[in-house]
Symmetry: C2
Subunit: 130 residues, 2 copies
DNA sequence: GGTGCCTACTTTCTTTTGGAGAGTATAAGG
DNA sequence: CCTTATACTCTCCAAAAGAAAGTAGGCACC
């Protein structure tokens, strides 16, 4: 694991630029506020219905929730299960791939919690120097 | 370090909702495509000038680069050094806080590289069922 | 002394995206 | 017949992002 990281990050092996472009595109897709928040919500609660997600992810509109979930489903991050009943019931859960992304983002959540004070201090300094 | 992670992620300690809101806001700020790409570019190359960054971060407009760098500076992630010469020379480098965020995102880059194929396969499957 | 270059931005204009809120389908229950 | 419940979908408007041109100001060239 540490060895893998070393190989991936410390070496200057020439990387195929096509691969790099694809990785960049994927990062762009996945490094999105709502994707991250939905991922976290599903990590925490396991299986959730549409309205439960809407409640859990503060501030998201229905349109964005639908859009985010569709994109995540397409990327193989979430699994969508429709129960053909009335009123409709649709369940969302992370796939193993989604879980692995959640774990990858773990460090970022940790960072945010740990460094919140530092960022706020930096902002105050920046703002009063105007 | 592992113990810290355990405390942060596996326990169900009641978290102050105000803190959670702040963390969510910070995540929203920082989990941005361009921020991530600029961070990576600065991690890789150390000190860079404006135009070097513009070339390195494929597809970014000057406006977004300026905006992203200003926001990152405000958050204490990058340090901006102006050399009062003609033509202008401005250097950008990561602060220790910026480096720590870069390390936190390391896992995501790793994930993207490792799982690119899986995501592409998922997309093909999703699209042809479309 | 006019012309143009250099860099790091601004400014303006257009296109894309995001949010708010109403509408839709369906069946059970009163 | 009217309400309720759910998961969207649609429409309209505001906000954000992208493209391209403009700015400052000292320097070199002709």
């Amino acid at each position: 694991m540490l060895a893998t990281e070393k190989i991936a990050y410390d070496s200057n092996l020439p990387v195929d630029p096509r691969v790099e472009a694809l990785v960049t595109e994927l990062i762009g897709r996945v490094a999105d506020k709502w994707t991250l928040l939905v991922l976290e919500e599903l990590e925490d609660h396991g299986v959730l219905r549409f309205t439960e997600l809407a409640r859990g992810v503060a501030g998201i509109s229905q349109k964005m929730l639908t859009q985010t979930l569709r994109a995540m489903e397409r990327d193989g991050l979430v699994e969508r299960t429709v129960h053909p009943v009335v009123p409709p019931k649709v369940e969302y859960r992370l796939t193993p791939l989604g879980h692995s992304l959640g774990e990858a983002f773990c460090g970022v959540w940790h960072w945010a919690g740990e460094n919140l004070d530092r960022v706020e201090a930096a902002r105050r300094t920046f703002d009063e120097r105007g």
